[in-house]
Subunit: 106 residues, 2 copies
DNA sequence: CGTATAAATGAACGAATATTCATATTTGGC
DNA sequence: GCCAAATATGAATATTCGTTCATTTATACG
């Protein structure tokens, strides 16, 4: 059940949806990789050592979730984390591997 | 495919696995609910308004992921977040709905 | 004990997701 | 324009996941 709301842009509406995009070994590796700066698909692929098409699919998931964004760079495409990434507050949950800070309730 | 490793207790090894446990509307609601204190299954059920069995399955996911823990309390069972939840560091990713702070690389 | 209440479990099934493979698109260079 | 490189897309399939339903376990109480 999607809500292909014509007015708004992409999905990734619910928190769960965004977490779902991160909740994958491969996509998490991509995000981790991009946290050290923008990177071309080829570089990411080399770094992770996975198949081209598979990576592309995962990148699309991340794009759809509004977690990464892509820009053409010659023959290649440059990926980077979206600027959705910066803020602060309370309500922290430590997973051991990472901490999740929930917003006070949207 | 589980790895019922005889020596250790539960799974929730990888970060992705834990995120996966959180990446669900219902389970997220449970966690949110428990963030305001321990609660019996019945209370959680009333608060979320979902079926008993369904909630139970979701609680098991959260338990397996090491996110919540259960203790008997008479006829009822009391749930609360595990003490995996408290720490601090850097490498923050803002999802709009919540921020995820990755540990420096295990 | 028998019964009621609270919660957990397991099987079944459909829906969502990941992966692969083949093909299409975009771009730069010749 | 044509070719190769880089990436995206779509269909087909396999796998995982969420939900329901029926049943079971555990506890308290009379």
């Amino acid at each position: 059940m999607k809500t292909p709301d014509s007015s708004s842009r992409s999905n990734a509406d619910s928190c769960a949806a965004r977490l779902k995009a991160l909740a994958d070994e491969t996509r998490l590796a991509v995000v981790r990789h991009l946290m050290s700066g923008p990177s071309h698909v080829g570089e990411i692929q080399a770094a992770l050592g996975i198949e081209q098409s598979l990576l592309s699919h995962h990148l699309r998931s991340l794009r759809d979730a509004g977690i990464v964004e892509a820009t053409r760079d010659g023959k290649a495409v440059l990926y980077q984390l979206t600027p959705t990434m910066k803020r602060r507050r309370d309500g922290i949950v430590d997973l051991g591997c990472c901490r999740i800070t929930f917003d006070p309730e949207s």
